[in-house]
């Protein structure tokens, strides 16, 4: 089942957005990539209104099946973490208002999903996103590439959850779950 996922790398100055479509185990395709910018000299309210308007426009145009947002921790850059958390909250709010499923993924989950290493740097992430989506050049700025990495991570992790849900459904329907083949208990 192909899904279209929109990833959001939250931030007030640059909020990265990237949408991909695909299913686990098959090539993914790029739907859209970009960034919402607001001015550091603007008032917080105006910045949040700008981010909401940008995300709403994206949701209208991209029409994703799900939205993946980076989970923000207070260990991040203390000077900017509150604005980052607020931008993330607005992305979650906009998606939830439309009834879209929202997932939060940590930076290390995203890095591990896309590069195989939870400690990969921005350049490695950008390079893997470029390769996985068969792009001719690396998406810029890094926030845009990170948003695509989030979306890719969600398609793949969603696939795992989808397969688990299918397995549970099979078990409930009376079919033997895969585990029981190796499990000698009755």
């Amino acid at each position: 089942m192909r899904v279209r996922v929109m990833g959001v790398d939250p931030g007030l100055t640059r909020c990265g957005l990237g949408a991909v479509e695909g299913r686990p185990g098959a090539p993914l395709s790029l739907v859209a990539v970009g960034v919402i910018r607001t001015g550091a000299d603007e008032e917080l309210g105006a910045r949040l209104v700008g981010i909401e308007a940008g995300i709403e426009q994206w949701l209208d145009e991209v029409r994703p099946d799900a939205v993946a947002v980076e989970r923000v921790f207070s260990q991040h850059n203390v000077r900017t973490v509150m604005g980052t958390a607020q931008a993330a909250g607005i992305a979650v709010l906009c998606a939830a208002r439309r009834g879209l499923p929202v997932a939060l993924h940590t930076p290390s989950e995203v890095k591990a999903a896309v590069t195989g290493s939870g400690t990969a740097d921005k350049k490695q992430i950008g390079a893997m996103v470029t390769r996985l989506l068969r792009l001719t050049e690396m998406p810029k700025p890094a926030d845009a590439a990170d948003a695509l990495a989030l979306a890719i991570c969600h398609v793949w992790r969603g696939g795992v959850q989808h397969r688990l849900a299918e397995a549970v459904a099979r078990a409930k329907a009376g079919a033997a779950p895969a585990r029981s083949r190796k499990d000698p208990r009755p």
Copy 2:
């Protein structure tokens, strides 16, 4: 000039709301006080949608001239600070979407304005809010009292800013600013 200010003590589990009306140097009056609650078992998106809906309803009914929101710092309780920041962001967003002026006040600014001490505890704040608004009992929960304290702080600080603006206007109009009476320079 009387102003009606709505204060928001942000939080996901309890978001305190309180509105007062008044002007600096005159008795203040209570307009409304309450709290928006969302369940810790709900998904983040549903909680943020609930907070947005509650704040929108308050703005419709209270029709404040300005909104005052507690400024959230990352030094707060690490477990809850991200949700607190997101609830604050939604309050700022809702106000800014309506073109209402939004002010952020720190907890110590609010404590100092209401009790005279930047390190007052919840009980002192509640007691002073009760006295200043001539209530028969202390508003509960503490989040509701804190929201009223924010609104009171803003009426009073707004007053200072208003008087400064008036002084600047007088100076620009050619009247001698108050300072010059004590200032021997030409």
